[in-house]
């Protein structure tokens, strides 16, 4: 569809682009990325023929763009420059109709059914039909941008060049416009080349991205190949972190602010834990990185407060989400800053242990009840039933853990718990084998993320050793207390 071959050029004598080559296949969406002033917009202008390159050729459908007349070229491709207001106001319909210019010819204007349909369709796609007879100046920035995109769509060219199409728009409009363009790419085989400011949007919507640096191509390919942490940091001269999108297989980056809040020392101690009648609470003045299987705010995140709440055995588990949320609010916890667990075990039977390690203190808190003890290897023999969790484990670390250390910490803690049940000879009453846990155990690993990075959390690492030992000791003790209370 589009072939860019060895393009060099720029304004006046200053070369802005040097030796840029890439191909775009039909029906693909390509994003151009790069720092300010790297030549993104200039490249787009050269591709569109608005600027001539000093060297190199642009081919569309196998022909050099110079072989087409301006009007022919406008039927092949269109460029939508960054939004700018017109000095005189027109209606939305008139503005969109101008997109039909390259299809009209002759001494008198010949407005045909095809023109009419193209304009109608473009207005439908951009959802601006309701503004048809309104004046452009009375629309919001997002609506105006949609009108200009409709104008470009009414041109019905196979190649669409966009310069930051979602500039100045709020996220809802960004999404709407890019979703619509993406839909055209998929359904109508439209080819799109667009300059993006926002790396994440480009990653989400583009099949391929072109990363530019100082007028040269730094990398070109699918987003996951191009958008690498070190490369982005190198090109943009900044600090970022790249992670997976929660729903899509696309890399997403976040910037890392340099300024750290130095107000208070970020350490936690046993003092942060408190036993109440209804719950065990942990409160910190700063959020910790947490990985947990909890009722409220499970998964990976940053939270300052944890709650392990005792509920009656007849607790209505059906509406647990809403009920727990209301409970947190009623007890003065911020629901967005708190991880919440549940147990049927009385809070007075909680075991809290503290271990002083070279890297910092590690606190382990366990509540254990073994009424639902189960051997996981035999669990397939059971029917599913759900009751309130009975062994809840918290591991709170003064230290900085990598993602893999978090996962390894979970494994270590789990294995250690299983070992504790074995040691205490807790049996699965259905299979009559040694139990490895209960039916609804929960685990929470939290780290302050201060100090030196601990890359691993396996059994032979400093942190792994203390988790293994601590969880084992605390669980054994908790089972003792539980059994004592029972008898």
């Amino acid at each position: 569809m589009l072939k860019v071959q060895h393009i060099s050029g720029g304004y006046g004598t200053i070369p802005l682009l040097s030796d840029i080559s890439f191909d775009v296949e039909e029906g693909k969406m390509v994003g151009i990325l790069g720092p300010n002033g790297c030549g993104k917009s200039t490249l787009l202008k050269v591709i569109s023929g608005i600027m001539s390159p000093t060297f190199g050729t642009i081919m569309i459908d196998g022909n050099d763009i110079n072989e087409y007349s301006t009007r022919e070229l406008a039927r092949k491709m269109t460029i939508l420059p960054q939004l700018h207001a017109s000095a005189f106001s027109s209606t939305v319909r008139d503005t969109v109709s101008i997109g039909r210019y390259p299809h009209q010819s002759g001494f008198f204007s010949s407005w045909g059914a095809e023109d009419e349909n193209a304009v109608k369709k473009a207005m439908q796609q951009t959802d601006i039909e309701k503004y048809e007879n309104q004046y452009l100046e009375y629309l919001s920035g997002g609506e105006q941008q949609r009108v200009f995109i409709a104008q470009a769509l009414a041109q019905v060219s196979k190649l669409l060049l966009l310069d930051e199409p979602t500039n100045h728009l709020d996220i809802a409009h960004q999404k709407q416009i890019l979703d619509m363009i993406r839909k055209e790419v998929i359904e109508s085989n439209l080819t799109v080349v667009s300059v993006f400011h926002d790396i994440n949007l480009a990653s989400l919507y583009c099949d391929e991205v072109l990363l530019m640096e100082n007028g040269k191509v730094k990398a070109f390919g699918p987003p996951h190949e191009v958008l690498l942490e070190e490369r982005i940091e190198d090109v943009y001269k900044t600090q970022i972190s790249i992670q997976a999108h929660p729903e899509q297989p696309k890399p997403q980056m976040t910037i890392l602010p340099v300024i750290q809040e130095q107000t208070k020392e970020k350490r936690i101690t046993v003092e942060n834990l408190k036993l109440n009648e209804e719950y065990i609470e942990f409160r910190s003045h700063f959020p910790l990185r947490v990985l947990s299987s909890a009722v409220h705010n499970a998964g990976l995140g940053w939270y300052a407060n944890f709650m392990n709440r005792t509920v009656k055995p007849d607790y209505d588990i059906e509406h647990v989400k809403e009920e727990y949320l209301q409970y947190l609010v009623s007890k003065g916890f911020s629901p967005t800053n708190t991880v919440g667990m549940m147990t049927a075990v009385d809070t007075s039977k909680a075991v809290i242990k503290s271990y002083e390690m070279p890297f910092g203190e590690v606190i382990i808190a366990v509540t254990a009840g073994v009424g639902n003890a189960i051997d996981v290897s035999q669990s397939y023999k059971r029917n599913n039933f759900f009751e309130v969790g009975t062994i809840n484990t918290w591991v709170i670390i003064n230290g900085k853990l990598s993602d893999e250390a978090f996962v390894q910490a979970m494994m270590t803690a789990t294995e250690s718990k299983a070992k504790a049940l074995q040691e205490e000879e807790v049996y699965d009453c259905i299979s009559n084998t040694l139990a490895t846990g209960t039916t609804t155990d929960s685990l929470l690993i939290a780290a302050t993320q201060q100090g030196e990075l601990m890359q691993y959390g396996g059994p032979i690492t400093e942190v792994g050793k203390v988790i293994g030992r601590g969880v084992f000791e605390a669980t054994v003790e908790a089972i003792h207390t539980y059994r004592k209370g029972d008898s």
């Binding site: 569109s48 301006t70 009007r71 420059p81 000095a87 101008i98 210019y101 060049l161």
Partner: protein, 331 residues
Amino acid sequence: MKKSMVFAYSSSIIILLASIWLGVSIGSADIPLSTLWDNKTNPSAYSILWGIRMPRVILAGLVGASLAIAGAAFQGLLKNPLADPYTLGISSGASVGAVATIFFSLSIPVIGVYTLPLIGMVGAFITMILVLSFARLIDRSMKMETLILTGVIFSSFLGSCISLMIALTGQQLREITGWLLGSVSMRGWPYVQMILPFVVMGVVFLWLNRRELNAMMYGDERAQALGVNVKKRKYAILAGGSMLTGAAVAVSGTIGFVGLVVPHMTRMLFGTDHRHLLTLSFFNGASLLILCDLVSRTIITPAELPIGVITAFIGAPVFSYIFFKQRRSRG
């Protein structure tokens, strides 16, 4: 064509015909409609109508129409609501030519009294070439800002040339200021014949670019992406507009207001679409100037006021009224 446009054209044409009729019938001698074709019953009225009033009305109409359509085109092209036919300095060139003719009492043999408009047109033509080539020299792509600035530079330079001649002149002062304020009186058919070819050519140039003007409202780059050969079209529009302006100024002096305000009024009433705006401005400009000329020659009879005084005098309140109404209904 849409219903609203049918109304726009029919009302504009009816107003123009009415203006022409008022222009030829009102005056020191009242002339009935039948005189148009009947030269038997009242031969003197017939000769006043066809010999004096009709050429005057037609000339006023052509001048008003030229200035209005050129103004509409320049405002669209330069994307500047303050632009008018005089923005590019072409009119100053025509004025310098005309004032110099009076100042030096020039008279080319054979053409005699037509020396002034002829030199005026030559002045306009030379200025147009100079402005365009100077703007091109500065900036090959001829950006709008470059054009406007070049026009301003040329206008002020030529304006000071005119001031210099005014300062140095003695007995021609009244004649020069009279000409500068503008008038269409005592011109006759030869002036109409002189301006007509330029008007036709200029209007055709602009009208052929009506759709391109629509596209160029969104900027040169967007226009090019829409398939407009921007450079070529820009030259055509500038040449057409300059031709109209130069010719109008050469025959009637610098009549202000029409070129600035008629396009705005037309736009407010009938929309920004240049496919209609150009033609409608043409009709409305003609009507406005014919009516202004009528007022200028009848208000303090037997004396005549310069038409340039009247255009703003009538035009400004009308414009204010439309401006007010339109903002109210839209906002």
